[in-house]
């Protein structure tokens, strides 16, 4: 059962990511990314991290993607120019061509390396599965990582101020 779920979610994630990257309409890209997030959330649940899954949906899909949508609609972003010819022709400067090639190289690299590892199974005991406990997450967050937590709040403040300033209309 788990296996099926895994492959299902994985497929959705990969396909929608491909489409996010591949297709032209930015509005569709955003929607597809939301779908990708959903798949990932499912994967998190499979990994005994329901809290993270819910957080993902709420923050990522709910807030960040909505923000993206706002911006897309605000700017009335047009469709990208249609691709002409094969994929390589759409790649512009040499650098970009190289970049695309490199991405493929990276993918192959990583996949190949990872597949050579011996399969490492997940543990099943109670302690391990206890990571899903929100209480436990909370406790760790506010004790061991308290400083990082507070720092993050300052980061968000900075981001807020920055975004406000940057997006202001020039007088």
């Amino acid at each position: 059962m788990d296996v099926v779920a895994f492959y299902l979610f994985a497929a959705v994630a990969v396909v929608s990511s491909l489409l996010v990257v591949g297709q032209r309409n930015p509005m569709y890209s955003v929607m597809l990314l939301i779908a990708s997030f959903g798949a990932l959330a499912g994967l998190y649940v499979l990994l005994d991290a329901p809290f993270t899954a819910v957080t993902q949906i709420i923050i990522y899909a709910g807030a960040i993607m909505v923000l993206f949508l706002f911006v897309v609609m605000l700017l009335n972003v047009p469709r990208e120019e249609a691709a002409v010819g094969p994929v390589t022709a759409t790649l512009g400067a040499t650098g970009i061509r190289i970049g695309a090639v490199l991405s493929a190289v990276l993918a192959i690299e990583l996949v190949w390396a990872l597949s050579r590892l011996a399969p490492t199974r997940f543990g099943d005991d109670a302690e391990v599965t206890g990571i899903s406990s929100v209480a436990r997450i909370g406790r760790t967050l506010f004790t061991e990582h308290a400083f990082a937590f507070e720092a993050t709040s300052i980061l968000i403040l900075a981001a807020m101020v920055g975004a406000t300033v940057l997006a202001r209309r020039e007088r």
Binding site: F6, V14, Y44, E80, E81, A104, A107, V111, R121
Partner: protein, 100 residues
Amino acid sequence: MVSLNHYLILSAVLFSIGTAGVFLRRNLITVLLSIEVMLNAVNLTFISVGRYLGTVDGQIIVFFVMTVAAAEAAVGLALVIALFRHRETLNPDAFTSLKW
């Protein structure tokens, strides 16, 4: 059985897809979206390894990553808006003032 390797390979693939998107797309917003894809791939890695090791640290890191991603997305989009106002286009190739 689904092992850690499966998850790692999946996140590697997603990461590469995101990277390709950063290079290939000629729309700034889509570039930002690709970056989000990359971040997600990384999140997946953290969660899966965290599950493997049996700690909550993975999830906590993901928590922070999400926060930072939110902040970054906000600022990035503000920048995009400012740039759009300047040039009326979202094509990154249009912003070449720093060219030699």
